[in-house]
Amino acid sequence: MPVWLELILRVLVVVGAFLTLPLIVGQAEHKVMAHMQGRLGPMYAGAFHGWAQLVADGVKFVQKEDITPRAADRQVFRLAPVVALLPYLAVLLVIPLGPHGLVAQPLDVGLFFVLAVVGIGVIAVLMAAWSSANKYSLLGGLRAAAQLLGYELPFVLSAASVAMAAGTLSLSGIVEAWRPWWLLWQLPAMLIFFIAGLAEIRRPPFDMPIADSELVFGYLTEYTGLRFAFFLLAEYVGIVVIAALTTVLFLGGWKGPFDDQVGWLWTLLKMFAVAFVVIWLRVAYPRLREDQLQRLCWLVLVPLALLQLVLTAAVKVAL
């Protein structure tokens, strides 16, 4: 197979995953959330248990009027949804699915790339918040910026811990080096990474930036139609990305019985398990208040992440 054909094939597969995985997660969220609240959730679209609900939603969003507020900064307002979506697509490119280079684009500093690119999302939030010419949007954007900047720290530190343990920045390399007992050794880092990741994608209970009971819908207030759908899609791709990263970094990625043949299946299974937990947390917990949110980050997660770094270093030196 020529190189360019293989490259195109890989990119196509990633785009396919980019378009289907979020839909699966979104549908799972509809159904799991409903059943956790004693409801049924969507039942009609697509005849069987509403499996096509998100497709129907997509069609609905396409039909809606695309409104730009008169006072808004038009170009920035229109660009923001795209900027919100693209980084996650880039991240999906480097996440290894299985052994023997089953990854769209292997990268020597994959972990670093992922952390850097995920950080771009906050610019999209600020763009959306400011250009909407709406006080609720701006407040939501400022909250988001403060939250994302703060949680970036434990996010990176806990990822650094596992990179230190594996002795490499390559995502595939980290999975190769992973051993089951790391589950215990890196447990604090895993929890910190997961919680900080939740905050990074602004999922409940960290959805202070769009707190709908006080800010209407935060930085998304003025968005309608397809652009709003882009932001929603970005949120679900965010869940996929955070679940995939947690899987790859802390849960051993494709490791499992028969991982030579069905490694990719293990990765996907673990990913969906983590995504389930993301949804579960949304149902179980109320939204954190702004001061609680910052307190959790700076007084709990950051010190814990630093302690975990020390622990990792100590074990690494002792071995």
Partner: protein
């Protein structure tokens, strides 16, 4: 001392528990709802029973019953003078005003008004919620036999009376 994080775990346990239980959602348009006895749906009118005493219209708290009538002379052969009788011209209930208190049904001395459990009479136009007497009569077919207050007790008075009238023994 309580373990830290116990509340958090409890929250997760509750939601997971709910996930495993059956949901109570009724699939209404697909599956007919299982309505309790004495459900208040719409009010049916048995026109023959109405004597135009106007009690219902007067007792109605939000004045949603409209009654028109005229007097008619009935000449009874052999009687000294002709008797007068009220004839119902119009009987209408505006269900856009009705608050389903059931007072009209309670006060009717001749059992002309009845609750029926039918509830699917929504309209696109609010004016169509004014049910005239022929519409109200249509509901009579859906009036259920009144259940006993106690499901093991004796049957309702109306039922025994009806059974006696038709010469059968009470159920």
């Amino acid at each position: 001392m309580e373990l830290p994080g116990k509340g958090l775990v409890k929250g997760l346990a509750v939601t997971l528990g709910t996930l495993t239980q059956r949901t109570g959602t009724q699939q209404y348009p697909d599956v007919e709802p299982d309505l309790p006895p004495r459900t208040r749906g719409v009010i049916a009118l048995i026109e023959e029973n109405c004597t135009v005493c106007m009690l219902c219209a007067r007792e109605c708290p939000d004045w949603c019953i409209y009654i028109d009538s005229h007097k008619e002379e009935v000449v009874v052969p052999g009687a000294a003078r002709a008797r007068q009788r009220n004839v119902l011209d119009r009987f209408a209930i505006d269900f856009s005003l009705c608050m389903y208190c059931g007072i009209c049904i309670e006060v009717c001395p001749f059992d002309a008004l009845h609750w029926t459990p039918e509830f699917e009479y929504a309209e696109h136009d609010i004016r169509d919620l004014l049910h005239e007497k022929d519409r109200l009569e249509e509901w009579v077919a859906t009036v259920p036999a009144p259940p006993a207050h106690d499901h093991r007790g004796e049957p309702a008075k109306e039922q025994t009376a009806a059974a006696k009238r038709s010469g059968q023994s009470a159920v």
